[in-house]
């Protein structure tokens, strides 16, 4: 393959070989506070904090965490929705010397228990919301989890000052300490030198797999600061579009997801941008804020942009303030991309990446050459090669299809306590195997064509059919089950289960199986459609033929579409 064909497609002044200095992640906030101290950093439910105030809260959280025993090597879980608590706790943990472990409120109970155990989370920050606290309370004292730091939306009455008497943060008899108590100090925490940023762990970000329980991707301080710098570099154009200290974003992607963590939170803190935080995606509220608050930077997933361009009152809204928008998590339908440009006048940028790449991988240049259907060119400092699908230890020439393999400062250190999975994910020359099959054209643009993992993309989340099959199989009436992805206009894909029942067993409804599965599957991976069969299609030796199920489903849809159009 010719050496780095993408370099010539970099629009000046962005450079593929731009320096990407590695540093402690918390220095991003320190620098923003020094440069943009009086600028608004966060707005949430009508309350605002400046960068100086956010910085002070992070310092107080750091001291509070240290009073609870956080130091290098201690893992602190964040089981939080999008509220200011996340930002304060995230930077606080890192400043205290600890490692952040992200937890998803969408996860099923058994996955949460696995993550606590596997990650060795000893302290966890959460809110007293019905969907959060009751999930974690039973895990305290059983295994590594000893302390819960519990906040609430009521805390926001005291945000951002959190004034009160100083006292040491100390857990009660149930292992609980309030978020207030975490901040009840002067912020004079003890800084720890982090050593080599490329080696020192900052975040354990769990990611699913085709088999077994999720694995913890070890993202270092260097990975996250490099990824942030990569995003900064890819947004450089002449004249500049993004002006440090002048931008405003709407932060609605979940912060426990790597896309939101890096491409929204860290990028925006680095830019000194104001983050208007939404706890969840509610279209009406999002549209109102996009227009009224003159949002300039907005990152989302295709599901959000599909909803946005279909919004009934769109014509009455002025969205021309949006200067930089990007979609990730799943392929973006071309018609949505085009419609978005018509409405806002700005390009909707698309990229590709994954948890293990922190998550940047490719980006669409903001100016110059763009190619429909492509997820863009490699981000600064990242090299892509394409491994033969048939012979994974050989690379294919430029233009041929192969598994994307990536190397760069943003690529994870490995999987936590799982050297076997780490070795399996790496090529002999140190590139990460991604599982996505693509080709690169002569200009360095990447076109994704297939996936070699049995994985679905549902509303921007990776969903593994095997996990769903395993959960459905535990139903006493089920003899055989196979799950495939079916097209979903809104979520991209949805899981559909084909089920053969045991002899004499009565069929069940989709509502009944959802109720049965609610403790076993996350909300994002819940099966949406079921179909009963006497038996599932198999090869002569008895292997289930998923390809036959996909083909049958495609034929049925094509036939339904024909019927609808005659």
């Amino acid at each position: 393959m010719p050496e780095a064909p993408w370099i010539k497609s970099y629009p000046a002044p962005a450079r593929w070989d731009a320096p990407l200095p590695l540093s402690p992640v918390y220095e991003i906030l320190d620098t923003a506070a020094a440069q943009f101290g009086d600028r608004p950093a966060v707005e949430f439910m009508g309350k605002r904090a400046t960068y100086r105030q956010l910085h002070a809260l992070a310092n107080r959280a750091a001291k509070g965490f240290q009073q609870l025993g956080v130091r290098p090597g201690v893992h602190v879980g964040l089981f939080l929705p999008n509220t200011p608590h996340y930002l304060v706790a995230f930077f606080g943990v890192l400043k205290a010397g600890g490692v952040v472990v992200n937890y998803s409120p969408l996860d099923a109970a058994q996955v949460l228990a696995h993550k606590v155990e596997d990650s060795e989370t000893s302290i966890l920050v959460t809110l007293d919301l019905p969907m959060l606290l009751p999930q974690m309370e039973p895990l305290v004292g059983h295994g590594p989890l000893r302390t819960l730091v519990v906040g609430g939306l009521a805390d926001l009455a005291r945000f951002p000052e959190f004034e009160g008497p100083h006292e040491d943060a100390k857990p009660d008899a149930n292992g609980r300490v309030s978020f207030d108590a975490l901040l009840a100090n002067d912020g004079a925490y003890t800084p720890y030198p982090i050593g080599d940023p490329a080696e020192t762990l900052a975040v354990l970000q769990y990611t699913g797999g085709t088999t077994g329980l999720p694995k913890g991707a070890m993202l270092t301080h260097g990975n996250l600061t490099a990824a942030t710098s990569q995003y900064i570099e890819t947004t450089k154009v002449d004249p500049p579009v993004l002006i440090p200290g002048e931008e405003r974003t709407l932060l609605v992607l979940p912060l426990f997801h790597i896309y939101s963590l890096t491409a929204v939170m860290l990028l925006c803190v680095r830019l000194g941008a104001e983050m208007v935080i939404h706890i969840r995606f509610e279209l009406e509220a999002v549209m109102k804020d996009l227009a009224e608050k003159k949002i300039t930077v907005f990152m989302g997933v295709p599901t959000m942009f599909t909803a946005l361009v279909s919004y009934p009152g769109l014509r009455e809204l002025d969205l021309t303030s949006m200067k930089y928008t990007a979609s990730g998590g799943a392929p973006l339908p071309l018609e949505v991309q085009q419609r978005f440009k018509e409405i806002t006048g700005s390009e909707l940028n698309e990229g590709w990446g994954m948890t293990e790449t922190s998550p940047s991988g490719t980006f669409s240049p903001m100016r110059g050459m763009r190619k429909p259907g492509s997820c863009g060119i490699p981000v600064p400092g990242a090299t892509l090669k394409f491994a033969s699908v048939q012979e994974p230890n050989t690379y294919v020439p430029l233009g041929e299809r192969g598994e994307i393999c990536i190397k760069g400062p943003n690529v994870m250190k490995g999987y936590w306590k799982n050297p076997e999975a780490t070795a399996d994910a790496m090529t002999p020359d140190g590139f990460l195997r991604t599982g996505d099959v693509a080709y690169m054209d002569e200009d360095g643009f990447v076109f994704i064509v297939d996936r070699i993992k049995d994985m679905l993309l549902c509303g921007g989340f990776n969903v593994y059919p095997r996990n769903i099959e395993e959960a459905i199989y535990t139903h006493p009436s089920v003899a055989e089950v196979s799950v495939i992805g079916i097209p979903d206009e809104y979520r991209g894909q949805s899981p559909k289960a084909f089920i053969a029942l045991k002899s004499g067993a009565a069929p069940f409804t989709i509502e009944e199986i959802k109720e049965f599965l609610k403790d076993k599957l996350g909300k994002h991976e819940m099966v949406q459609v079921i179909e009963f069969r006497d038996s599932l299609p198999k090869t002569p030796v008895g292997k289930i033929l998923k390809t036959a199920l996909y083909e049958e489903e495609a034929k049925r849809r094509a036939s339904a579409a024909e019927t609808a159009t005659v």
């Binding site: 085709t210 088999t211 699908v389 048939q390 012979e391 399996d424 297939d450 996936r451 070699i452 993992k453 049995d454 095997r466 099959e469 395993e470 199989y473 055989e480 089950v481 196979s482 599932l536 090869t539 002569p540 030796v541 008895g542 292997k543 289930i544 998923k546 390809t547």
Partner: protein, 157 residues
């Protein structure tokens, strides 16, 4: 180790091999979760059938593994192989596959195909050693092919 053609009297031994496997082994074998084995299916793989060739391996009275090839068409058959949990890394798979290939050649088959999950590295190792190559990569699975005749090899099929 004794490797011989499977017989109807091997039904319990074949069942014991299947039941000794891990959930992961069974997923690799059947591409779905299997905890209970349908007696009719177990029987199908030990009965005398012109469209199925089967081999079984024993160490003394202990069954170690079984390999089958089921006819796809006049010239091709599909491979399935299973090794008991405690008999891995002893060369059981290699011995079974060699015996099965010899049997298929005798019966006049030209090609042996195998569908395997991409992540099934144990089979990948075995297949490469026996001379299989990947004919098709279909998402999460590979279709491996072994030419059983010189003509097939020459044709690169």
């Amino acid at each position: 180790m004794l490797v011989r053609s499977i017989e109807p009297s091997d039904e319990e031994s074949y069942r014991a091999i299947l039941e000794s496997t891990t959930a992961e082994d069974r997923y690799c074998r059947f591409f779905h979760r299997v905890d209970h084995f349908d007696p009719a299916e177990v029987h199908r793989f030990v009965e005398t059938n012109p469209d199925i060739a089967g081999m079984i391996a024993f160490e003394g009275p202990v069954p170690l593994g079984a390999a089958h090839a089921v006819r796809l068409d006049a010239e091709s058959a599909e491979l399935a192989i299973v090794v008991a949990r405690n008999a891995r890394h002893l060369g059981v798979g290699v011995a079974l596959l060699e015996a099965l290939i010899a049997c298929l050649k005798e019966r006049g088959f030209h090609r042996l195909l195998a569908c395997a999950l991409r992540e099934n590295h144990a089979f990948e190792h075995l297949a490469k050693r026996a001379g299989f190559h990947v004919e098709q990569a279909d998402g999460a699975t590979f279709r491996w092919v072994l030419a059983l005749t010189a003509d097939e090899s020459a044709a690169g099929r």
